[in-house]
């Protein structure tokens, strides 16, 4: 009996080990590594197949052993076919990434009109960025991302769209940066703290080029950058990301000031999920950069959360909280060109400590098919302490509320209107302690005159009062059209006005900047206005080749700029007249569809201070950006090249006798920067992972964006991401 039992077991084992069927199982994820549910996974010409579950897992069971082709398809994504899959055991693992079919679906944009529109229907120039760039280029701060956007120029940390700004240490931005449409600039300086932007939670970035004051008010005189955050994941989703890198040695031995490796690294952990109608995302990040310059280091910690509650199909509430603590060296200018990576004497230990908290609330309510409303409220507290011989400090509390109504009178006729209030209280030893009140009322009409012609027109009224200064009233109208001449050729044009009221820092700053030079207040500073015109065309030669070109012109009155005045001090003053004209051309070409992409953009810009008959400061006349990318799963790679012609005008008074404050500060060159990156996607078990290597400024070319500040030396970094 015992022998019979043993024989049965042995027979069963033998049968099992020689099984003639097996299963193919695995996981399907999207390019951002979130799991894809409902993907159809099947073996063509058979009945074998499965659909992925909430976490992206699938399993095709009871397959006879053999060699198979497996297809993966989901609406909105490119089909993926895996051939020659050999099933020679009980089970094999097959993990796949599906990419969005970007050219097959129209790009949606919400910033141009404060409601959802197709990008091809707009009357203004726009660029939409996808978050994949962040990993590929190992972007550690949002401003680095903007360095690759056509028509956008970063001078150190100051953003400018089509020449709207020169350099004023971030004070008084002319580009309104918003998170989910909620403005994000500080109450005292009006600057943007790029490090706070939640890189790990970006769905897309919309860049509106040209004045948008008629919808967004004072700070949007040069354009809008709107960061759209992701919706919370429907299933548990955690992302861990880390990177580490090092700067190369300087090109010249006399520039070496430290023999150790100058490294930088970062860590972030993000978790997102849903519980019934509640969606949430939490994230913490830490960044550390020793810098290639002495006393230019930083240490940053951020915490971010977004909670979304869906009351019903017609209303939802979103709460966002974002906190930053940072400590950094305060490197202003080099000592001289022989000591180009060392600060001026006496500034070796200056540092800045910052605490910032941004809270926003967005409530959406759809009252009917023809009327929806949105309420946005935000609070932004910023505090910095400048620790040097002279201690500087400023705390600003900015409160903002906005009510937006969208009326769809018909399929062809839409009205967007809103009402906005803001109040800022500043407490500072360099900006005085002013308060600042603003209110705005706006309306914009969109009318589809025919299927091919879309017209829009609108205006905004603003009243702003900065402390004891006389209140400023402004009306900023605009009008635009979009005309589809043929299926492939779209024309657009717009004319609009803009205005910008000076920030407390521009009016009231009273502080020494070293070398006996002071920044002094200017209570007579008045608001600036602009009149802009744009005409552009978009030509879709084929699904894989697109051209976009635009001519633009802006006339500024009372343009606000920092200047050295006759007393030897720096003061923000109004330039009577300035003019910027330009031509922008962009080519997008998928020359090997779904594998090789080429993007080339060129911007010619002629900027003029009319009174002085000189170019405006820190505006390059010629800018060329190119990007070549390769994507063939599991590999990704890219090459970027940026060129700026030599800046024509800088702050001469700071670099020439008699002040000579920034010695050799007039040393500047055209900018040639090339970056390369390469990445590999893989799975650790069923967990998707990716690693990227990024080499920036590969020629170790020495250039400045702003006088006396050598831009980052050649640096290499390695990043690793895990998704589970």
């Amino acid at each position: 009996m015992k022998n019979i039992f043993l024989l049965l077991i042995l027979t069963a084992s033998l049968i099992y080990s020689q099984s003639t069927t097996g299963s193919i199982k695995g996981r399907v994820i999207a390019a951002d590594n979130s799991p894809l549910e409902g993907v159809n996974v099947f073996i063509p010409a058979t009945n074998y197949g499965d659909a992925t579950d909430k976490r992206g897992f699938f399993e095709i069971k009871n397959l006879p052993l053999g060699v198979y082709t497996v297809e993966f398809s989901l609406i909105g994504y490119k089909k993926e076919v895996k051939e020659m899959i050999e099933l020679n055991q009980i089970s094999i693992n097959l993990n796949v990434i599906l990419y969005e079919a970007s050219f097959e679906t129209k790009q949606i944009i919400v910033s141009a009109g404060k409601y959802q529109q197709n990008k091809d229907d707009l009357s203004v120039s726009t660029t939409v960025l996808k978050p994949e760039m962040i990993t590929q280029k190992n972007i550690t701060s949002f401003d680095d991302l903007l360095r690759y956007v056509p028509g956008v120029q970063m001078t150190m940390d100051q953003v400018s769209i089509r020449g709207s700004s020169g350099y004023s240490k971030g004070a008084g931005t002319r580009v309104l940066t918003a998170i989910d449409g909620v403005p994000f600039y500080s109450g005292d300086m009006g600057d943007i703290v790029w490090e706070m932007i939640p890189l790990q939670d970006i769905e897309r970035i919309e860049v509106i080029k040209g004045p948008a004051s008629s919808l967004y008010g004072s700070t949007a005189i040069g354009g809008v950058i709107n960061i759209i955050t992701k919706s919370a994941s429907k299933n548990p989703f955690t992302n861990f990301r880390s990177y580490i890198g090092t700067y190369d040695k300087p090109s010249y031995d006399i520039w070496k000031w430290d023999d150790s490796f100058r490294t930088f690294y970062g860590l972030s952990l993000t978790h997102s999920n849903h519980y019934k109608n509640l969606g949430y995302t939490f994230s913490v990040r830490k960044f550390d950069d020793m810098s290639y310059k002495q006393n230019s280091y930083y240490k940053r910690y951020t915490a971010y959360s977004k909670i979304n509650y869906l009351f019903d199909d017609s209303s939802n509430l979103s709460l966002l909280a974002n906190y930053l603590y940072s400590m950094r060296g305060n490197y202003l200018y080099w000592k001289d060109s022989r000591n180009a990576l060392v600060p001026k004497a006496g500034e070796e230990n200056n540092k800045v400590r910052s605490n910032r908290l941004f809270l926003s609330l967005i409530y959406d309510k759809k009252f009917s098919e023809s009327f929806t409303a949105q309420f946005k409220s935000s609070y932004y507290r910023t505090k910095f302490d400048g620790i040097a011989i002279e201690f500087t400090t400023s705390t600003a509390n900015l409160f903002r509320n906005e009510l937006i109504g969208t009326f769809n009178f018909s399929d062809k006729f839409r009205l967007i209107s809103g009402l906005e209030f803001s109040y800022t209280k500043v407490k500072s030893n360099i900006f005085k302690s002013p308060d600042y009140f603003g209110t705005g009322l706006y309306a914009q009409l969109e009318y589809n005159l025919t299927d091919d012609l879309i017209l829009n027109a609108g205006a905004r009224y603003d009243y702003l009062k900065l402390d004891t200064l006389k209140g400023a009233n402004a009306i900023t109208p605009r009008a635009g059209l979009n005309y589809k001449l043929t299926d492939n050729l779209i024309l657009r044009s717009s004319i609009g006005t803009g205005f910008r009221v000076p920030t407390p820092s521009e009016v009231f700053t009273s502080a020494g900047v070293g070398g006996g030079i002071d920044v002094i207040e200017n209570p007579n500073l008045t608001y600036e206005t602009s009149l802009s015109f744009e005409a552009g065309l978009l030509y879709n030669y084929s699904k894989s080749l697109r051209f976009d070109a635009a001519f633009y012109q802006t006339e500024y009155n009372d343009f606000i700029e920092p200047n050295l005045i006759y007393t030897g001090d720096i003061q923000f003053i109004n330039l009577p007249k300035a003019r910027i004209q330009g031509l922008e051309a962009i080519v997008d070409w998928d020359f090997v569809p779904q594998m090789f992409k080429l993007n080339i953009s060129y911007n010619y810009m002629w900027s003029r201070d009319i009174q002085r008959e000189k170019a405006m400061k820190y505006r390059p006349r010629n800018v060329l950006y190119t990007n070549l990318s390769y994507n063939h799963y599991p590999f990704e790679a890219g090459i970027d090249f940026r060129y700026w012609s030599k800046i024509e005008e800088i702050d001469d008074a700071l670099v020439e006798p008699p002040l000579n404050y920034v010695k050799d500060g007039n040393k500047r060159v055209p900018v040639y920067v090339a970056d390369i990156n390469a990445g590999f996607n893989f799975f650790i078990g069923s967990l998707p992972a990716k690693t990227f290597i990024s080499l920036k400024n590969i020629f170790n070319y020495n250039y400045v964006e702003f006088l006396g500040n050598i831009a980052p030396l050649r640096n290499i970094s390695l990043s690793f991401e895990l998704f589970y």
């Binding site: 006759y566 007393t567 006798p657 008699p658 002040l659 590969i698 070319y701 020495n702």
Partner: protein, 172 residues
Amino acid sequence: MKKIILTVSIILLFLINGCDKGIEPADEITSPTGFKGKVTFTGNWNNNIKRTHLVVFKKPINKDEDFFPPNLTFVIDSIPKGSSQFNYNSLENNYIESFTISAGEYSYIVVAQSNSPELSLLRKDWVVVGVYCENGDQSKPKKLIINAGKITGDININVDFNNPPPQPPGGM
């Protein structure tokens, strides 16, 4: 494919090592840069004068604004009232510490007087009483050329209170 990768690598290596490096360090200057000379006075000093300075301008003064920095480049210490001769050196007699002079051409070097006890940078507060010029012709200012690492000498100005030079635009 291997050939392409090899070719691209060689080109990249060539570019990385062979390209222009952009901004370079300036040449080392071991000796000081400046100028020196003497100012001689003829005639009687005005009793109301509070300040007398030798002043260097980058370009000639054509409008009030040109009297201010950055066109106003350098100021020598105040010359004592009643002097008949004043020897100066820009390294030792720099009146405004934050001002420095560097190599270059300077078009208008003058001795100017003011009734204001404080140093004023307003054109209207000053009278030009002597000009660094060609062959004593004060209507023809001579350029001061300063070379890096050298002290340019003999920058002499004769002030004749009885024969004042032409005044630049503006003034009292």
